[in-house]
Amino acid sequence: MNGPHDLGGQHGFGPVAPEPNEPYFHGDWEKRALGVTLSCGAFGAWTIDESRHARENIPPATYLSASYYEIWIRALETLLARHGFVSAEELSTGHMLEKGAAPKRVLTADMVPAVLAKGGPCDRPLATKPRFAAGARVRTRNFNPTTHTRLPRYARGKVGVVEALQGSFVFPDDNAHGRGENPEWVYTVVFDGGEIWGEDAADGLSVSIDAWESYLEPV
């Protein structure tokens, strides 16, 4: 979707303003937000792609003024309601009103080291052969789905070069919507800065994305 998250190349957000010696958390609520988000992810009720799409669906004015942990929490509330774990009424009253759906698992403290160490690998075996080889010139598709995609707007309809085949991975455009993992080959595709930004491109700039095979057409 062409949502507020798709920020590459936009103007007007001001300086980056890195904070010297920045702490990992700015307040206790950010710690709880991290832990609650990861704990609920461990239910196994939704995928990382569905959760990313829930974040993208936060209304633009809210998304752009929220801190990232606030974005996480807003999206988490959406996911918890969608999957029947917490109702909107419970969220507004701040306490349990009914039992709700039961998850496949509840993350307990003893499970944390193993769960974090395992992560969530997204590579999947694929029987088909890759369509493109390193060095191939490709054009990214120009599409504007209202659904989840990982092809940023600035990189649509652009000609680049396949730099590397990176393996086969879960296809987020399908997986975010419960249409299955449908793995595809993923390639690093590099674009000359001028192909993307035209006469305003910085000198000596190239930009790469990691693109699923169906994002690409031969040139």
């Binding site: 590459g8 974090l116 930009v207 990691d210």
Partner: protein, 209 residues
């Protein structure tokens, strides 16, 4: 570290910021339902506050500087090379290392969300997840670098890696001159978090200052 749910705190609720109140309410509901274990949250927070941070990545870089065979492995199969140092897991499942050299400076961003190599750098800083960096890194990288106090030589190329898939990128900065006598732990002291994102360079050894 422990989280206090005692009732006597509830009359202070109106002192909480909206997000403090919102997260506290959510944690309370989920705990009442038995869906989360507050002690698991403590364990997650402790892991990312104390165990997993940019020192991991700095050790990877220092080893690559010191051992050409390891650098080759890191180029070919970063996931395995990094795992050999014990750095694995969430948001580091599929790693790639990209090497700065005399010709090219590498810069990593996630324009679409906040993808970041947690296993080697820990949790990302606020600026990495915020709109200014995400919007500008791909179109104005020299302007962004200037805000970090970094000016590249005029002829140096810039390669920006937008983390649009599940690959996570670690920048291996150039090894500073005058570091031949340093062991790997001393070398790791020169490798900052920002140098491994590409918004910084490795520190110069004090001996040369």
């Amino acid at each position: 570290m422990s989280h206090d749910h005692d009732d006597h705190h509830h009359h202070h609720d109106n002192h909480f910021s909206p997000m403090e109140a919102r997260v506290r309410a959510l944690e309370t509901i989920l705990t009442q339902k038995g869906l989360i274990d507050p002690k698991a949250i403590d364990a997650i927070v402790e892991t990312y506050e104390t165990n997993i941070g940019p020192r991991n990545g700095a050790r990877v870089v220092a080893k690559a500087w010191a051992e050409p065979d390891f650098a080759d492995w890191l180029k070919r199969d970063a996931t395995a090379a990094i795992a050999s140092l014990g750095y694995t897991g969430r948001q580091g499942e599929h790693m790639r290392a990209v090497f700065n050299d005399g010709e090219t400076h590498n810069l990593v961003v996630c324009t679409l969300c906040s993808c970041y190599p947690w296993s080697v750098l820990g949790l990302p800083p606020v600026w990495y997840k915020a709109p200014a960096y995400r919007s500008r890194a791909v179109i104005d990288p020299r302007g962004v670098l200037a805000e970090f106090g970094v000016t590249l030589p005029g002829g140096k190329k810039i390669r920006v890696w937008d983390s649009t898939a599940e690959l996570r990128y670690l920048v291996v900065p150039e090894r500073p001159d005058g570091t031949d006598g340093l062991d790997q732990e001393a070398l790791a002291d020169l490798v900052t978090r920002d140098a491994m994102i590409g918004t910084g360079l490795a520190l110069e050894p004090e001996a040369r200052a």
